[in-house]
């Protein structure tokens, strides 16, 4: 085993795997599906304005292709968004915050409160309709170590923010 030379035996190290992750608010899934639907709709419009005129005589074939491509895009993104939503989650521990996301590529990032530079809460137009916000945790480590958790109820986001800021002050002092 590694680290046997430590005062703290490996078995006593706090394990990230033991925490249970909070799922995102159910509305976050709806918001994401809606925005992917809007994007697909945009693609469909774009396709409709290009393909049928190009096919001229066979315009109905162009329409068919655009419809098929759009429904494929819609179905694919719907599936991926659901899968991603199922796996995504966050957890607050006494000294750090953990965020896991992704589906094919799974990423689990942990940021100690002592390293947090500042915390931001944001809300886009779609998120506003669904009553969810995004919480961003910035570190000095650049975009790879910044957390970006999108899909939390505003009151909870505010609570998390003040908790992190409080913990950053406490942990960062030493």
């Amino acid at each position: 085993m590694i680290f046997e030379n430590q005062q703290v035996p490996v078995s006593e190290l706090p394990h990230v795997e033991e925490v249970s992750f909070h799922p995102l608010a159910p509305n976050a899934l709806k918001a994401r599906l809606l925005s992917s639907g809007l994007i697909s709709g945009g693609f469909a419009l774009l396709g409709m304005s290009i393909l049928p005129p190009v096919f001229s005589g066979l315009w109905w074939l162009g329409v068919l292709i655009v419809l098929a491509a759009t429904s494929l895009l819609l179905a694919g993104s719907r599936w991926l968004i659901k899968k991603r939503f199922e796996w995504e989650g966050y957890a607050l521990r006494s000294h750090d915050i953990i965020h896991r996301h992704g589906y094919f590529w799974r990423i689990q990032t942990t940021v100690p409160y002592a390293r947090v530079q500042h915390v931001e809460i944001g809300q886009g137009p779609i998120a506003k309709r669904f009553g969810i916000s995004t919480i961003r945790v910035f570190t000095a480590g650049g975009s790879n170590s910044d957390l970006n958790i999108s899909g939390i109820i505003p009151e909870e986001a505010n609570r998390i923010k003040s908790y992190i800021i409080h913990k950053t002050e406490v942990d960062g002092e030493v």
């Binding site: 680290f3 990230v16 590529w105 990423i107 990032t109 942990t110 940021v111 100690p112 650049g142 942990d171």
Partner: protein, 494 residues
């Protein structure tokens, strides 16, 4: 020495008037670069009247910008107020840039040729954590620049970190390394000459393209005609071309490196390290030990033969990681490495290092993607296009890639220590990296679908100067290292 009231940084200060000259010289260089084809044509074919208008545009542009830069000089001030360094500039559109003193991270001086003639320096002040504010003064007299640096360093820690101020103020400087002529020669030899050749080639082709669009002649064809007649075959021409190119790049890099690293001095200062170098343009970069995130040194075969390493100190960057402040010292020897190593990572010699290697899947994947797949693709392409000359190359590619990746895999080792991490990697260029656990800003475990299937993961340690990636660790080990890093970063508070 100037009188003390002239060095009062609480009142608005102006830059040295040399700044005007510098702004103008930069402006004219820019204009020249934009308009040189026009000028060339103007000289070669003065009859084409349509070009007159373009020349007038250039003249008017330079006049307007000259007036603008002179006026903006008189409207630019910097001063310190309420714990912030403030730069106000602009004539029509005023901008105000402020940097909190305790955020200041590096203060570096630079001297171009013009700077040296007028005995001024340009000052660049960098911060971290805040959103990319960077502060630069184009010209300050040397005395004022040094006074400003001392003033800022003494003010920086006010109130918060008193111990650090003492450290900062200690003036003890020790020259660790001063490069002599033979060192310069060695560094010059061990540079990457192929890169220079590539740049030269690209520049040359670009230049010929420019000429072509200006002169309306196909320069390649002319060249080929005039030069090509001397040689019987294209092969000979290519060979001669390649040799000449390599020779030019060899001597070119030699001279350039010698100029750039002339009189290079690597200095241990009270709070960190400092590098000064340059023949025409003097550079000075400094790094405080507290801001160094990780250190890395490496040597390729030629450097190993010369007993030389190139050392890099990765400093905390501003908010924008693209602007990393990495300090590079080419041509270090073992004693300098040891000095840096013990300063950055005291106690790394004591305590045992535990060595781990990545999973063998790393080798398999890289061999598949860099060896087998390109070989098959190349072979197939050769067969389809009936171009059989290159088939042996692709046949040999597989075994060569096997050997190469095997060596890379074998030399990749991860050392763990109570204080930090050590990476040993590389086959041609062997690199050593040291990272202290405290410098970690966050940890990520990343798994691709393949890695999920094989219970392996890549562990990324994020620092304020970029990521350090430990690829293809067994999942258990990756988790264990992550838990340990977190314990180390957070444990200080316990």
């Amino acid at each position: 020495m100037e009188r003390s009231e002239e060095l009062d940084f609480f009142r608005p200060n102006r830059q040295s008037p040399v700044a005007i000259l510098l702004i103008l010289s930069r402006l004219f260089r820019f204009l020249f670069r934009q308009f040189w084809p026009v000028l060339l044509v103007f000289v070669l074919r003065p009859k084409r009247t349509t070009l007159y208008s373009l020349v007038w545009v250039a003249v008017i542009l330079s006049l307007v910008s000259s007036i603008n830069s002179i006026l903006s000089y008189f409207y630019s001030f910097f001063y310190v107020s309420e714990g912030e360094l403030i730069l106000e500039k602009g004539w029509l559109r005023r901008t105000r840039l402020s940097v909190p003193l305790d955020r200041i991270q590096t203060i570096s001086f630079q001297q171009s040729f013009i700077h040296r003639v007028f005995k001024v320096v340009s000052v660049e002040i960098d911060t971290a954590g805040s959103k990319g504010s960077e502060f630069s003064l184009q010209a300050l007299s040397q005395e004022r620049a040094h006074a400003l640096r001392d003033f800022l360093l003494s003010r920086r820690g006010e109130g918060i970190q008193v111990s650090e101020v003492e450290e900062v103020e200690s003036k003890s400087e020790k020259v660790l390394l001063q490069l002599g002529i033979s060192d310069l020669f060695k560094i010059g030899i061990s540079q990457n000459h192929f890169r220079t050749a590539g740049i030269l080639l690209a520049l040359g082709l670009g230049f010929l393209d420019d000429l072509e669009s200006v002169l309306g002649k196909n320069v390649y064809k002319d060249l080929e005609k005039s030069v090509g007649s001397f040689f019987d075959t294209v092969w000979l021409l290519t060979l001669v071309f390649v040799i000449v190119l390599l020779l030019i790049s060899f001597f070119g890099t030699l001279v350039l490196t010698a100029i750039r690293n002339f009189d290079l001095r690597f200095i241990r200062t009270g709070q960190g390290f400092k590098v000064e170098s340059g023949l025409f343009a003097k550079r000075e970069q400094s790094a405080s030990l507290r801001k160094i995130q990780f250190i890395r040194w490496g040597a390729h075969p030629i450097q190993r033969w010369l007993g030389m390493y190139s050392l890099r100190l990765y400093q905390a960057a501003g908010y924008n990681l693209a602007k990393q402040k990495t300090i590079q010292v080419p041509g270090c020897y073992q004693p300098q490495l040891e000095a840096v190593h013990t300063a950055y990572f005291p106690g790394s010699e004591e305590g045992s290092w535990e060595w781990h290697s990545p999973s063998v899947h790393l080798f398999r994947r890289r061999f598949l993607f860099l060896g087998i797949l390109p070989a098959i693709a190349g072979f197939a392409l050769g067969l389809i296009t009936r171009n059989y000359h290159f088939l042996p190359v692709f046949l040999a590619w597989g075994p060569a890639a096997y050997f190469w990746q095997r060596q890379i895999f074998r030399t990749f080792n991860i050392g763990l220590h109570p204080g930090g991490l050590q990476l040993q990697e590389g086959f041609f260029t062997r690199e050593t990296t040291y990272l202290r656990w405290e410098k970690t800003q966050g940890v990520s475990i990343v798994q691709s679908p393949y890695q999920q299937n094989h219970q392996i993961a890549t562990l990324d340690l994020h620092t304020a100067s970029g990521d350090i990636s430990l690829p293809y660790l067994p999942l258990e080990k990756a988790r264990l290292i992550r838990d340990f890093v977190l314990f180390k970063v957070e444990g200080k508070g316990l």
